[in-house]
């Protein structure tokens, strides 16, 4: 069993290293995110809409769209040179590959948010800094990225093997993310506006959703990478 997670870790470390080696890819994803955040905040400013209220919506729409760019690359390395076969033989279990790729995508998304969230904060000039619940805010970012990375990794494992990958991926991804979107926006919004609503329910909902959509792909990944 420790061997299992050891291999997950090995692939994860390799992928993260590779992510930094080809830093321009990560960078363009981040720039795309920054661009989205800028356009959104600016558009809201132009229409004089209350930015405080829109913050979490803008944030998550930006993350969802940028995540398509980030996640879409996760299997590209393996696809280029038929390395997937070698990796499969070496890991001996398709679940290992799923977990490693999922962790890598999660890390990339969190890194991405590290840049984008403060920028959005500045752009929108959000005023409610006083009663922000920092723990809940960071927790909601983490939970949202987790679900996004898990579902995204599984679907990317599918679309990378098809010719029309780039078009298909977001079409498959977004409908599955609706419950996540609802939950995560609730959490972020509450964290920001400090409304004293019974919120723990949404946190539990997100945790269960994420666990379900991490275990389910883990089981189904055998069929995805059957070759």
């Amino acid at each position: 069993m420790s061997n299992y997670f050891h291999r997950v870790l090995l692939i994860y470390v390799k992928d993260i290293k590779d992510e930094f080696r080809t830093f321009d890819n990560l960078l363009s994803t981040i720039i795309f995110g920054v661009m989205l955040v800028f356009i959104f905040s600016f558009a809201f400013q132009l229409t004089d809409l209350a930015v405080d209220q829109a913050f979490s919506a803008v944030l998550w729409v930006s993350i969802f769209f940028s995540s398509v760019l980030a996640i879409q690359r996760s299997f590209a390395k393996e696809r280029e040179n038929n390395v997937m076969d070698a990796l499969l033989l070496a890991s001996g279990d398709r679940g290992i590959i799923f977990l490693a790729k999922f962790l890598c995508n999660l890390t990339v998304l969190l890194l991405f948010e590290l840049v984008v969230v403060p920028l959005l904060w500045i752009f929108t000039g959000i005023s409610a800094l006083g009663h922000i619940q920092a723990g809940l805010f960071i927790g909601s970012l983490f939970l949202g990225s987790w679900g996004l990375a898990a579902i995204g990794t599984m679907l990317n494992g599918i679309t990378i093997q098809l010719p029309s990958a780039r078009l298909l991926f977001p079409i498959l991804l977004f409908p599955l993310l609706i419950p996540l979107l609802i939950g995560v926006i609730q959490c972020t919004n509450t964290a920001l506006l400090g409304v004293s609503e019974p919120l723990s329910g949404w946190v539990y909902f997100l945790i269960s959703f994420n666990i379900l959509f991490t275990v389910l792909p883990l089981v189904l990944f055998d069929f995805v990478l059957e070759g």
């Binding site: 061997n3 390799k14 590779d18 038929n82 390395v83 070698a86 001996g92 279990d93 398709r94 070759g227």
Partner: protein
């Protein structure tokens, strides 16, 4: 210690196409089995089934009498595609796979890379290597551990003269404690190596168990 591989009545169907029909053979440690046949006869598919990379439609593939999947654990696979991480350096490729196989030791990697003549290229990314060098690197990866079953899919393709000589040495050397299955149409390159021959035609076995010197 002797192992046995049994392929019993294996068929593979993809959509309307029947790739393999009722293929059966057995092999034991020490044997070198060569599969020949024209393009599209299903040779690669057969090898991928044995490796567990692809799923058979019916039949059984047994290792010492029991089923196995991709988790075989002691299976080497050398394809005509080098299957290497192009952005990683020669050394990183070797280190990564050695760790994945739980056989990491810098000395043995150095020895292997020296043997395939790539030690001096160890910091080059795999992408810049020539086709023959990539294939030699793939060969070195296969030698990282001691597979009990080694599958070669057109391994001579892309190899230069020295590489071919090296591969023949490996084939001879690994005979002692592994089953080896080779797909090749360049039988002349196998001259001098005693082997069994099996021919596939349109997914069916048409000739088996011909011993050749």
């Amino acid at each position: 210690m002797s192992d046995q591989l049994d392929v019993i009545g294996v068929s593979k169907q993809i959509g309307p196409k029947r790739i393999l029909t009722d293929v059966s053979f057995s092999s034991i440690t020490g044997e070198l089995l060569v599969i020949t046949g024209p393009n599209g006869a299903g040779k690669t598919t057969l090898l991928r089934l044995i490796a567990g990379l692809s799923k058979k439609s019916s039949g059984q593939i047994l290792w010492n009498g029991s089923c196995y999947g991709i988790d075989h654990g002691s299976l080497g696979y050398l394809s005509h595609k080098p299957m290497l991480y192009e952005t990683l350096s020669v050394l990183d490729n070797m280190v990564f796979f050695a760790k994945m196989y739980d056989r990491f030791s810098m000395e043995s990697i150095e020895r292997l890379l020296e043997r395939v003549g790539l030690w001096l290229y160890r910091y080059e990314p795999a992408a810049v290597l020539s086709r023959g060098m990539q294939q030699r690197l793939a060969l070195a990866r296969t030698l990282l551990f001691d597979p009990k079953l080694i599958l070669y899919d057109e391994p001579f393709t892309g190899l230069d003269f020295n590489g071919q000589k090296l591969l023949r040495e490996v084939l001879e050397e690994k005979r002692a404690n592994s089953i080896q299955i080779v797909i090749s149409h360049e039988l002349s390159l196998l001259q001098g190596l005693p082997h069994e021959e099996m021919k596939l035609l349109r997914g069916r076995m048409v000739r088996e168990g011909v011993s050749c010197e």
